[in-house]
């Protein structure tokens, strides 16, 4: 008997028999000749899309094509933060939809991705920042999303080790979303893969898409390193590689690929409870369930496909960390890495049809793709299944740039490296 379902019971049973009953989390599928839907990209968004296509929309002849091993992109390279503290009406309901899916994820996919709602606190350091956060927090509350405004003393009570003594930019307070938090990132990819696989989705690794087959202006399949695969619909979920793949269909996208670095320290006994962002520098931090301080900052700021960054940003980020938390000076940076961000021109994503029939695009996640994973998968699945946008993703249209209906949370304009 194999242990199909994960539970404490199955774990105990397996531990008594040497764990011989565990099956592969997902089959090593080989490509079939044709599918109803082919998803290009075996990252979090692609796998979630496949899962929801099968689970919610009953479409199971689905393949996810991954050029390497699943989850090797940003789903495994991010700082694991989830939150729905957005300002603009185009974004807020979408990220709240995602937050709600996170809250039920483990039971939904029978995989413990350790969704940990330990709170996300955005600090502010001057009146203008405070007012902007009040506006944002109120927007959240009007969308029935939890948000609280903390003054400096409330922040101090919660995080007494922040720098309240000689700060260059003293902490005035913070906007707290208690339902925000962190999720074990790799487990999200594996969990969705396992759940999708069980519903019949083929997850095909080491299968690089080399061409998109278009007949009479309509997509009919893809060319891959493992041969041609026919598909009624093709969905792209390629994050930082979106431009390269879209170019195979002759499309140019409102996207630049940039590198975002992330960092983790050696494991320390936990002392940082909630995710904290510094408002006077480029720094945000959480502490993982293994004890590592996981932190990041701003993107390096130049086009890159190299998945690694440079030293000025390393220094800038850690300077922010030390300015905010002077007790971490003797902790050590263990590892730094870079992810490939699909930075869109207004800082918000695209989930839409493309000018090529039956070719669909899910891209432009900037550095916020992780938290969006469930809703991105759900909305992309909805679009692929129904050919119309999901109700929480109606603003994520490709033509919004032409119309001027941009969703620019930071107000930085058409310059991706400033978002």
């Amino acid at each position: 008997m194999s242990s199909e379902r994960y539970s404490l019971f199955s774990l105990l049973r397996e531990s008594l028999r040497g764990h011989t009953g565990w099956k592969p989390a997902w089959r090593k599928a080989s490509p079939q000749a044709a599918y109803d839907i082919v998803i290009v990209g075996g990252g979090g968004h692609g796998l979630a899309t496949a899962y929801y296509l099968a689970q919610r929309y009953g479409i199971r002849r689905v393949a996810v094509l991954e050029k390497g091993w699943i989850g090797n992109g940003n789903i495994g390279r991010n700082t694991t933060i989830v939150r729905s503290n957005y300002l603009l009406p185009g974004n807020t309901p979408f990220y709240e939809c995602s937050m709600k899916l996170w809250e039920g994820l483990e039971q939904d996919i029978n995989y413990n991705a350790m969704v940990s709602q330990r709170g996300v606190l955005n600090l502010f350091h001057n009146d203008a920042q405070r007012n902007a956060y009040i506006r944002r927090g109120n927007a959240m509350r009007l969308h029935d999303i939890d948000a609280e405004l903390l003054d400096a003393s409330a922040v101090r009570a919660k995080l007494p080790f922040l720098n309240f003594d000689d700060a260059r930019f003293p902490i005035q307070g913070g906007l707290l979303q208690r339902r925000g938090g962190t999720v074990r990132h790799d487990a999200v990819a594996w969990g969705y893969a396992r759940a999708a696989d069980k519903l019949g989705v083929d997850i095909i690794e080491n299968c690089e898409v080399t061409g998109i087959t278009i007949t009479n202006g309509r997509v009919t399949g893809v060319e891959t390193s493992r041969g041609p695969i026919a598909a009624s619909k093709v969905g792209l979920a390629c994050a930082g590689n979106s431009s390269r793949v879209a170019a195979m269909a002759g499309l140019r996208l409102p996207i630049e690929s940039h590198v975002l670095q992330a960092f983790v320290t050696e494991g320390l006994k936990p002392f940082i409870d909630c995710v904290t962002t510094f408002g006077a520098g480029h720094f945000y931090i959480s502490q993982s369930d293994k004890g590592g301080l996981v932190f990041g900052g701003d993107i390096d700021g130049y086009n890159s496909y190299a998945q690694r960054g440079n030293m000025p940003v390393v220094e800038d980020v850690v300077e922010g960390g030390m300015a905010l938390m002077p007790r971490i000076g003797r902790a050590r940076l263990l590892r730094q890495w870079g992810g490939l961000m699909d930075m869109s021109m207004d800082g918000s994503p695209i989930i839409d049809r493309t000018p090529v029939d039956q070719l669909y695009l899910n891209a432009g996640w900037c550095y916020g793709g992780f938290k969006a994973t469930p809703a991105s998968g759900l909305c992309f699945a909805h679009l692929l299944a129904r050919d119309e946008p999901h109700e929480v993703a109606t603003a994520y249209r490709l033509d919004r740039f032409g119309r001027g209906a941009v969703i620019d949370e930071k107000g930085m304009g058409a310059q991706p490296n400033l978002h």
Binding site: Y6, L8, L11, H19, W22, A25, W26, G68, W69, G71, P89, T92, Q107, N112, M114, V115, H125, N126, A128, N131, Y133, I134, R135, N138, L142, E148, D165, A167, R168, F169, E266, L268, P270, F271, S288, K290, A306, R308, M311, E315, V318, E319, G321, M322, A323, P326, R327, G329, R330, A331, R332, L334, R335, Q336, R400, G404, D408, G411, G413, A414
Partner: protein, 1017 residues
């Protein structure tokens, strides 16, 4: 028989210290003439200068040093270097507590205090050792399969328990008291490592004349030469290393940096280096940093980082006393310490056999030599010389001993078991070249069958690898390769010729043999469930079984294996574990190692303290302070300051009797509106624009017209981004035929300058116009209020007529003040009053403030700060940062009609898109509460009166608000859908964060003097 001769040089210690029972001989790296003291877990011990904490603990017979992460297994010291996975301690105490410090690299100083970590209540009796018993449940990834029911229990019950067990050491609880520095270094050739390859490379490169920086992570140069008995030029290798370093030190083009780890390779020949300046002292000297970050720019780099030995995976291979064979030799030869009295040597290569020789020479009994290879003459000779039984084609099948190894179970070539008592097992599974730096740019190494390890694929044009790091396993080979690399690297930089022969290298007494035949593990296929746990990753307790289970569950990619089992994710980043894990996975997958892959290492090569990476940029020095010219004067006035970007600006100027800041601000506003006040506005960006095409240029960057602006006049201008949204605003004055001076907002001074340069250089390079920022050249002070003209008349030289007729609103002029001092005067008003901005050279700013106070006194002058400035601009409805937030359009700001239709300008076309001109867009309005005393909160949202408090009814928000002493009410600016058409309507102001809903009237955003009579007065 050089080895024997060398051994005779190894004098026994004059007197064996009773407190260091394992210190047997004179090590080449310690000064036994001096004794220093340290404590571990509260017990005092002695040591000698040159010791590491690890060598000192071993000298004192301490074997149990730490506990593993997951199972809390007792652990000792595995290695003698930065690769150490087990011997992690909390070093120092209080604010200087350093968690997870590797005892193997912690230099001992007198008074050092260290404690074991991740154990409770004590190291010897750790309650969480129970986890070991639960290991059948706690397999790889078990947590993904459980803790899901009921859902609410994760945050409340399960995760808190997991977090209680998480982490290893404890971070200090106070701010780090030490200082850190950053430095830049430049060289032709950077050499990483001072072993034989590195030293030979440095000599070759330096002799050619190249500027050389040699970085050695250790406190002493020599690398493995300190750990081995090797004769170079007929002298002990470490002696040769010291002599060579001294030679290099004497060369002016060479910098030797010890205690300096090259931790990362970045782009463009930039390397991150982390120098431990004073970690070997109890506390840094006064004015000395603890550590220093170097950004070294090198045209060429030679990686001579040597290798890292790997263990063999066998059941219960993690007990204290089971050590890497090469590390054992380091302790013997460098520190004079024997890590045991009865040693088993277990190896799959000749290098491991050397441990038997060296241990024997130090008086240790070799109780067995277990060689996984068939018998060889070499092994037999060593066995004979050391008097040890040789077990060829054998392995260690298990070990015993809880807090330290007490016996090894040896399974011989015929499968017969033999239990041999021992207190030390020296293990060598072969050496992995330390190639971390060569992979930082994503270059994958290749597997070399001959040495059973990964080596760098090929040299890059600016990086050479030599010695063990390149897979060359002999000292003479390392010397030759290093010299060649140094010679070639220098030639690449123009020093010497690559084609000429490299310099000769010194002789080595004999070439070491290696002869590895990989035996990755000593597990039987049939050993099954009853065998003890065999650890691959010691710190994270990843066992052979875990890897098998991961593969069974489909985690067959090496990256999946790593992430699923956490192999290689601990503080040592799998330096001793990764290749063994890969070999295991290959076997399970039925593939070769190269087919299975490798994982790239990511920076840093060794953990780097955050303090070092931040350097001095913390606390008040996190960012520089920009101080306006009147800062000193304002300080004397008792001003309260606020940060405005990097600027420190006076926020208000309290006076005696004022109890709240609101009192002060009210007084400042009232004084300006009724008499006169002044405010330093130097922080506004000032850009000098000159050239025949200056006017044409302004036409293209501003939305409004500029061609007809006469000399001596200023004009308000609005700039858009190319995407049609508002970018910045300000006034620009024409001072001469082809001379303009532009002001920007404080926040956008830099971005606007950059924008103008972009427009000029990239879009319209043919335009004859030039720009320079003069923000810091001129002190600019706003003098505002009905008596401002009277005050200025006291300062401006009499030939300049300030009357309304000759110097009206928006006039601008170059003038003189105070009897001939150059100045610029602009009749601009942000407050809405009769007002001027007077600019003088920055160094006169302080004097000007003092003068204004004096001459303004009869008129009741007051300085005012940014708060009063803000109140008055809200009273006048002028947009500022909260309105110009990058999301608003000219239309939103009520300036839609300013957009010229007669010319091209930045943003023109995109500003006409439907969504940007939709009348339904939230547009600038004013708000007054129905009840005057009611606060209006910036950030509140505007919903129709009576509608439910939901987003569907959200129509706008408040961007700025203030108490207006002039109006006698709170007032606010905001953006509201169809706003301008709704003046007079009552709207609900929702602030759910504060749990308030109030009502306000929609009014014009200009609250004071809408006709503008005052500013024209």
């Amino acid at each position: 028989m050089n080895t024997h001769k060398f051994m005779q040089d190894h004098a026994p210690l004059p007197m064996t210290s009773p407190t260091q029972p394992m210190r047997m001989i004179q090590g080449n790296g310690v000064d036994v003439g001096k004794t220093i003291h340290f404590t571990f877990d509260g017990r005092s011990y002695t040591a000698h200068p040159g010791d590491t904490l690890a060598s000192a603990l071993l000298a004192n017979g301490v074997r149990l040093v730490g506990r593993s992460f997951k199972y809390h297994r007792p652990r000792g010291i595995l290695s003698a270097g930065p690769e150490e996975p087990n011997a992690l301690v909390e070093l120092r105490t209080g604010a200087r507590r350093e968690p997870n410090t590797r005892a193997t690299v912690a230099e001992l100083f007198d008074g050092l205090t260290a404690s074991s970590q991740n154990r409770w209540p004590t190291l010897a009796f750790d309650a969480l050792g129970i986890n070991g018993a639960l290991s059948p449940v706690f397999t790889a990834g078990f947590y993904y399969k459980t803790f899901m029911w009921p859902a609410s229990f994760w945050e409340k019950i399960y995760e808190p328990i997991i977090r209680r067990a998480a982490g290893l050491g404890r971070a200090a609880e106070e701010a780090d008291p030490d200082c850190y520095e950053k430095s830049n270094g430049f060289c032709d050739v950077l050499i990483v490592g001072s072993g034989p390859a590195g030293l030979a490379a440095a000599l070759a490169a330096a002799t050619s004349g190249a500027r050389v920086i040699l970085c050695e992570q250790d406190s002493l140069p020599g690398g493995r030469l300190r750990a081995e008995n090797i004769l170079i030029d007929h002298q002990p290798g470490w002696n040769w290393a010291e002599a060579t370093i001294n030679r290099l030190r004497a060369m002016p083009n060479v910098r030797i940096m010890t205690r300096s780890c090259v931790f990362a390779r970045y782009d463009g020949g930039t390397y991150g280096v982390f120098e431990r300046v004073s970690d070997h002292l109890a506390t840094p000297q006064p004015d000395q940093p603890r550590q220093r970050l170097w950004r070294i720019v090198a045209r060429q780099c030679i990686v001579a980082t040597g290798g890292i030995e790997r263990p063999i995976v066998f059941p219960n291979n993690d007990r204290p006393g089971i050590m890497l064979a090469g590390a054992v030799r380091t302790y013997v030869n460098r520190f004079g310490v024997v890590p045991g009295r009865r040693a088993v040597v277990y190896t799959n290569n000749d290098d491991g056999l050397r441990s038997a020789t060296d241990l024997h020479a130090a008086g240790v009994q070799i109780v067995a030599i277990v060689d996984s290879r068939p018998s060889s003459a070499h092994a037999q000779a060593i066995a004979q010389r050391t008097g040890a039984p040789l077990f060829p084609s054998a392995r260690i099948a298990d070990t015993s001993g809880y807090r330290g190894v007490t016996a090894a179970l040896i399974r011989d070539s015929e499968g017969k078991d033999c239990r041999i008592a021992c207190d030390l097992i020296a293990v060598s599974g072969g050496w992995n070249p330390d190639i971390a730096l060569t992979t930082h740019h994503g270059k994958r190494p290749s597997y070399n069958d001959e040495i059973a390890a990964f080596i760098p694929t090929s040299d890059e044009e600016d990086m050479h690898v030599s010695g063990v790091a390149a897979g060359t396993m002999t000292t003479s080979g390392a010397l030759t390769e290093g010299a060649l690399a140094g010679h070639q690297a220098a030639a690449c930089c123009g020093f010497g010729k690559a084609s000429s022969p490299p310099p000769a290298v010194p002789s080595v007494d004999q070439d070491e043999s290696y002869g590895i035949v990989p035996q990755w593990h000593a597990m039987d296929a049939e050993s099954g469930r009853r065998a003890g746990r065999a650890f691959i990753d010691f710190q994270n307790d990843v066992t052979a079984k875990d890897t098998k289970l991961a593969a069974q569950e489909g985690f067959r990619s090496v990256e999946h294996l790593k992430r699923y089992t956490t192999l290689g994710m601990a503080t040592d980043q799998g330096k001793t574990a990764n290749v063994n894990g890969l070999a295991f996975l290959a076997e399970v997958n039925g593939q070769s190692i190269p087919q299975t892959g490798t994982t790239l290492t990511r920076p840093p090569t060794q953990p780097v303290t955050l303090g070092t990476l931040a350097g001095p940029h913390r606390g008040l020095h996190f960012k520089p302070h920009r101080l306006p010219p009147t800062h000193q004067w304002a300080t004397e006035q008792g001003a309260v300051f606020t940060a405005n970007g990097l600027w420190q600006r006076a926020q208000w100027y309290p006076r005696v009797g004022e109890t709240t800041w609101q009192d002060t601000v009210n007084r400042e506003v009232n004084t300006v509106r009724s008499a006169v006040g002044f405010c330093d506005v130097t922080t506004l960006g000032k850009i000098d624009i000159q050239g025949p095409d200056a006017a044409n240029f302004l036409e293209r960057v501003y939305v409004n017209a500029w061609q007809k602006l006469p000399i001596g006049r200023a004009r308000y201008g609005l700039m858009l981004r190319e995407d049609g949204f508002a970018f910045d605003d300000g006034t620009t004055a024409r001072l001469g035929e082809n001379h303009y001076v532009m002001t920007t907002t404080t926040a956008n001074a830099g971005p606007v300058m950059q924008h103008l340069e972009f427009c000029h250089q990239c879009l319209w390079p043919d335009m004859d116009v030039q720009f320079i920022s003069v923000t810091d050249e001129w002190a600019q002070i706003a003098v505002a209020g009905p008596r401002s003209r009277d005050v200025l008349r006291q300062i401006v030289d009499p030939q300049y007529d300030l009357s309304n007729e000759s110097f009206g609103y928006m006039a601008a002029a170059t003038i003189t003040v105070c009897g001939g001092q150059p100045a610029r005067l602009f009749r601009l008003s942000f407050s809405g009053e009769l007002a001027y901005e007077l600019a003088v050279p920055a160094h006169y700013g302080d004097a000007l403030a003092r003068l204004l106070m004096r001459v303004g006194a009869p008129y009741g002058i007051t300085p005012y700060g940014t708060e009063a400035l803000g109140v008055m601009r809200i009273e006048k409805g002028h947009p500022a940062g909260p309105e110009l937030n990058g999301q608003t359009t000219a239309h939103d700001l009520g300036m839609g009609r300013m957009l010229s239709t007669k010319k091209d300008f930045i943003g023109r076309t995109m500003a006409t898109r439907a969504a940007l001109t939709d009348p339904g867009r939230p547009t600038l309005i004013g708000l007054r509460p129905l009840v005057a005393g009611t606060t209006l909160d910036a950030g509140a949202h505007l919903l129709p009166k009576g509608s439910p408090a939901t987003a569907a009814f959200d129509q706008g928000w408040i961007s700025s608000s203030a108490w207006s002493p002039t109006v006698g009410s709170w007032i606010a600016l905001g953006f509201l859908s169809n706003g301008p058409a709704r003046h007079g309507e009552i709207i609900a102001v929702h602030n759910p964060l504060a749990d308030t809903v109030t009502e306000a009237e929609i009014v014009s955003p200009v609250f004071v003097d809408p006709e503008g009579k005052r500013l024209h007065a």
